[in-house]
Amino acid sequence: MYTQGLSNPDTAAPAKAAEGAGLAARFQERVDAEERIEANDWMPDAYRRTLTRQISQHAHSEIIGMLPEGNWVTRAPTLRRKATLLAKVQDEAGHGLYLYAAAETLGRSREEMFDDLLSGKAKYSSIFNYPTLTWADMGAIGWLVDGAAIMNQIPLCRCSYGPYARAMIRVCKEESFHQRQGYEIMVALCRGTPEQKAMAQDALNRWYWPCLMMFGPPDGDSTHSDQSTRWKIKRFSNDELRQKFLDALVPQTEFLGLTLPDADLRFELGEGDATKDGARGHWRHGSINWDEFRQVLAGNGPCNRERIAARRRAHKEGAWVREAAAAYAAKQAKQKLAA
């Protein structure tokens, strides 16, 4: 693997305790000074583990995320929609590759990480365990899911780990394009027939709450946040990002003439980015059903089994292709050696 040349935590880390403490302090100083940590730099094992988990989960999410949208590529209603959706799903495969490569710089191979996904050991974003039932879901996913993802990902462009931060710059550019593409689908539906508008409203009804959940548990309950904040992997808390998302979402929904399925949605005056009738403040959502979130994470979402089964099946059915490619490459190498 390409990662073999990089410093390995097992051989590089067992320094003396005092030396280790010095390295850790120096590391934190660099992070505090907003320097980027690179693959060959010393880093705490826990930092390496956290990033490997986070980046590979992100890659897995891209790969699993291809499935709910792939479900509609063959049924896209116009050739333009078909081409743009296919290109979007292709971008997601590209993001997956890009992110696996970033994670590999931390010492694990793509194959190992992918095996963790297929075995169920590794997680991916809960959102992709919901089904795509109508064409409007392609609009809602682009607008809401990619919109939520961007809120999460823009700050990651300044993540302390260089390879991840750089990968995110490109990913974010494409994601923001996807979001506009999704919103444009929603605009077309909302300007269309009553049936189309109803389809758009139904999609919004189904995706709104799961999208709010995408930001993760409320700040008080989040297990990984504190340390990640100190390491400047995470720049904003789950609740802060959720708030930014909601503040942007409300006026976009109004423009479409749709209604958020949240009876307790309200505007609170105060210091904030959102405005209503000229006053500043924040939009507040009703209470989120965190039990549903936990159930989806535990494997009980509507599509958890199907998503993983689809990837396992593809991997299994493609085994003979990968074996053939390896066998052919070995034959070629042998011939080259003999020549």
């Binding site: 050739l79 296919l86 539906l189 027939t193 292709v321 074996e323 053939a324 066998a327």
Partner: protein, 258 residues
């Protein structure tokens, strides 16, 4: 848009354009069916890429067909509101994906034709067709290289891959003759130097396929019988299913804009 299928005034030029556009759309659609099913991530991207190229070619050709027909149709009415007997694509393009080997053999057979075809078509006396050809030629060259490399790898890979890809060659072989047909309608365009007669490309195609299959340690089927009918709307059973999926939304909500 009406609920029922459109009627097309198939002048020789419109018919020609629909044939080539349908080839590209149907094959591109087939490739898009691979999303989430590829043997490796890189290949999912490549299949999507080739599919996008083909769908792009189809859109250019439909747009020109709409202009040539001048009857109010557009790329979407051509794609979504014609039933199987109105489709004019090669039988090869609509054949199911099968396994990855079959998809690659289908691509090889088509691209080994499309590559020299579009190259020759860059000399068309019709400026629009020459421009479409110039773009399609570059894309087809890449499709040919990609599918050739895979057929060689699979043919000369393992015993299993060899058997699978030989089976694919045998299954798809009878659909290759149709590419070189030139009927009376197309003949009038060829005589006017708007299009080329595809028949003389046969030797080049045989040479390309022979070389790839030989490197892949595969054999050419002995059976010379060729299936035909796609160009006049007599398709295999597979096309109706493909269209029922592809046209589902348009047909369910007639008249809606998307």
């Amino acid at each position: 848009m009406a609920t029922t299928s459109i009627q097309v005034n198939e002048t020789p030029l419109v018919l020609y354009l629909l044939r080539r556009a349908d080839d590209a759309l149907i094959l591109g659609h087939r490739l898009s069916e691979w999303i989430g099913l590829g043997p490796i991530l890189e290949e999912e991207m490549a299949l999507g890429n080739i599919g996008l190229d083909l769908i792009g070619q189809a859109r250019s050709l439909y747009a020109y067909a709409a202009e040539a027909e001048a009857a109010g149709n557009d790329e979407d009415t051509f794609a979504y509101l014609r039933d199987a007997p109105q489709y004019r694509n090669l039988l090869l393009a609509e054949q199911p994906n099968g396994d990855f080997g079959q998809t690659m053999v289908r691509q090889l057979f088509y691209s080994a034709f499309a590559d020299p075809y579009w190259r020759a078509m860059t000399a068309s006396g019709d400026a629009t067709l020459a421009a479409v050809a110039a773009k399609s030629e570059k894309e087809s060259a890449y499709h040919l290289r990609h599918s050739s490399e895979w057929v060689i790898r699979l043919g000369d890979g393992t015993q299993e891959s060899h058997a699978r890809v030989q089976e694919a060659v045998d299954v798809l072989w009878p659909y290759t003759g149709e590419m070189f047909e030139c009927d009376a309608a197309e003949r009038t365009l060829a005589d006017g130097r708007t299009v080329i007669d595809p028949a003389p490309l046969r030797d080049a195609w045989d040479g390309t396929i022979g070389a790839v299959l030989s490197r892949a340690t595969l054999t050419l089927p002995q059976n010379g019988w060729m299936q035909s009918g796609g160009r006049t709307g007599r398709h295999s059973e597979h096309l109706g299913h493909l269209l029922s999926t592809m046209q589902h939304v348009q047909r369910t909500y007639p008249g809606a804009a998307w």
